[in-house]
């Protein structure tokens, strides 16, 4: 079996979530790599969107910024932020891929601050950017993040971006579009889903060599496990080849 890193495993697992003929808004880094991989292997009609306005680029290299020239290189449309966000609000966007500073069991994300006083944060982070918009409006939100107790916390210091908020039905009660919400979390340990009845995280599969105990140790809240628990198929030789040679030849992401 081919040697691979945890980052390569995460990117392949994330890429497999994307079917052909779908639309996905991605950020730079691992999410972009996953979308590019899917596009090259089995989803030639996957429409990649960037929040600053790029629609359907033929990405020549990995973008550095979600608004740089690469994000609309030989694109269908070089539009505007409103063009993308309004597409999301109209229901045209199937997936978004986000990162997470902190995340709780309902998939609520903090990327704004650490501390208890908004006016005097212990650590200030960038804030929502487009994450709140995308997670509010896209049909399915997929989070890619390494898993540890610093990130997977019982309560996030600040709900920047909505997951299922307090649980089932809370998004709709707050006024968010029905049928949207967190779909999967792809970590270096496994793939996590959200059963509809509880809307809280449940591990669906573990990557090769990972045990449920490791997941428990690296999660700051009680994690649920699906039964029977699957093993994530490891990256195939073809996935690794395309990822290394075509998607990220300079190892910007997989070299991390």
């Amino acid at each position: 079996m081919a040697e691979y890193t945890q980052m390569e495993m995460m990117i392949c697992a994330a890429a497999r979530q994307l079917e052909d003929g779908r639309t996905v808004v991605v950020g730079t880094g691992a999410p972009c790599a996953a979308a590019m991989l899917a596009q090259r292997l089995w989803a030639p009609n996957l429409m990649i969107l960037f929040e600053a306005g790029g629609i359907g680029p033929l990405l020549p290299t990995m973008p550095i910024s979600v608004g740089d020239s690469r994000t609309f290189h030989r694109a269908i449309l070089a539009g505007s932020m409103n063009e993308i966000m309004e597409m999301c609000q109209r229901g045209l966007v199937d997936y978004t891929f986000l990162g997470a500073g902190q995340i709780d069991m309902h998939g609520n994300i903090n990327s704004t601050m650490v501390g208890q006083d908004y006016r005097k944060p212990k650590v200030r982070f960038p804030g929502s950017g487009g994450a709140n918009d995308l997670a509010s409006l896209c049909w399915r939100t997929i989070v890619m993040t390494p898993q540890d107790t610093r990130r997977f916390v019982p309560k996030v210091d600040f709900v920047t971006t909505p997951g299922y908020l307090a649980g089932k039905g809370a998004r709709e009660a707050a006024g968010l579009p029905p049928g949207t919400g967190p779909y999967k979390v792809i970590t270096d340990l496994g793939i996590i889903g959200y059963p509809q009845e509880s809307c809280r995280m449940e591990v669906e599969s573990l990557h090769a060599g990972v045990t449920a105990d490791t997941v428990r140790e690296r999660t700051g809240f009680p994690m649920l496990f699906k039964e029977p628990l699957a093993e994530t198929p490891p990256p195939t030789g073809e996935e690794l080849r395309v990822l290394r040679e075509e998607v990220d030849p300079y190892r910007y992401v997989i070299g991390r």
Binding site: T28, G29, E51, A52, G53, G54, P60, T61, I64, S65, V66, G67, D68, S69, T71, F72, A78, G79, S80, M81, N82, M85, Q89, N108, T112, Y118, R119, K120, P121, K122, V123, R124, F125, P126, G127, S128, G129, G130, A131, N132, D133, S136, L137, F158, V159, T160, T161, P162, L165, A170, R171, A173, A174, G175, L176, P177, P249
Partner: protein
Amino acid sequence: MSEPAGEGKLFSFPDVDGLRRLHREKARNMVSKLMSAREAIDRFVHDGDYLGVGGFGTNRIPTALLHEVVRQRKKKLGFAGHTSTHDFQILVGGDCLDRVDCAYVVGLEARGLSANARRAFESGRIEATEWSNAALAWRYKAAAMGLPFLPARVMLGTDTYRYSAAKTIACPFTGETLLALPALAPDVALIHVHRCDEFGNAQIDGITVADLDLARAAKRVILSTEYLVPNDQIRERPHCTAIPYFLVDGVVVQRYGGYPGNMPYEYFSDEEHLKEWLKVEQDPGELEAFLQKYLYGLPDFQSYLELKGGEERMLQLRAEELLENRREGV
């Protein structure tokens, strides 16, 4: 359920009738607005003003104009932090801001966080109100439409909403809970474009981010442009006009005016220099010396470009933008 209103401070009240009166008085004459960056910032940016900046952080940003704001030591400015990265870093470096509508601040995307911008928030020196990127873009759009607010379906149920100055309303047709975003009409917009004529008729190549609405929302607009073109060239392709002259107050011609950011089809970002900014910010003393060298100690932006390698460096960045130096087979 969402609370009826966020508890954040509203830095810019949506006075649409005031905006109408202001626009009624705005000159419609097609006269030359060419001026230096120094004159444009001196005439149109005043201490205490609220600024909106075009582009997307390190992409098509009006760096030359931002440097001039810092060089003239403008203070107590408000700012719309709508994926603001290097633009924000420059203004915070000059300690120009005292209030910020935050959607994306203090970061430079994948490059890391600005230590100096973080210090400004963590010390409480900058007053913040929270929003999302779409929220700020739609706030410009509301002002551009001449409306006091626009409804939207974002931010609901989150702390981003709680610390914003948005409100919720019931839709008069469906009864659904909607977010109400107050119009944002900055006192001044600074926007970098590819080409425009002396009157301010401007074209933008590539994504426009939120700049079409920003130009229409702002009370005053200063453009910096890569190229100055004759009015005839604009009239040959009127469908390409992104910003018409009657919105514009000042036109500053500055080739490479978005450096060290990326200008689509012209030049790529200077990642080395951006890294250097991030690094010196770790130490306030080093940052001060850095700003002295690259900004305060220089008479204008052209001198900064010369100091950073001039035409030779710019041609390298142009080759990078045009993907001319990619490795074989990649």
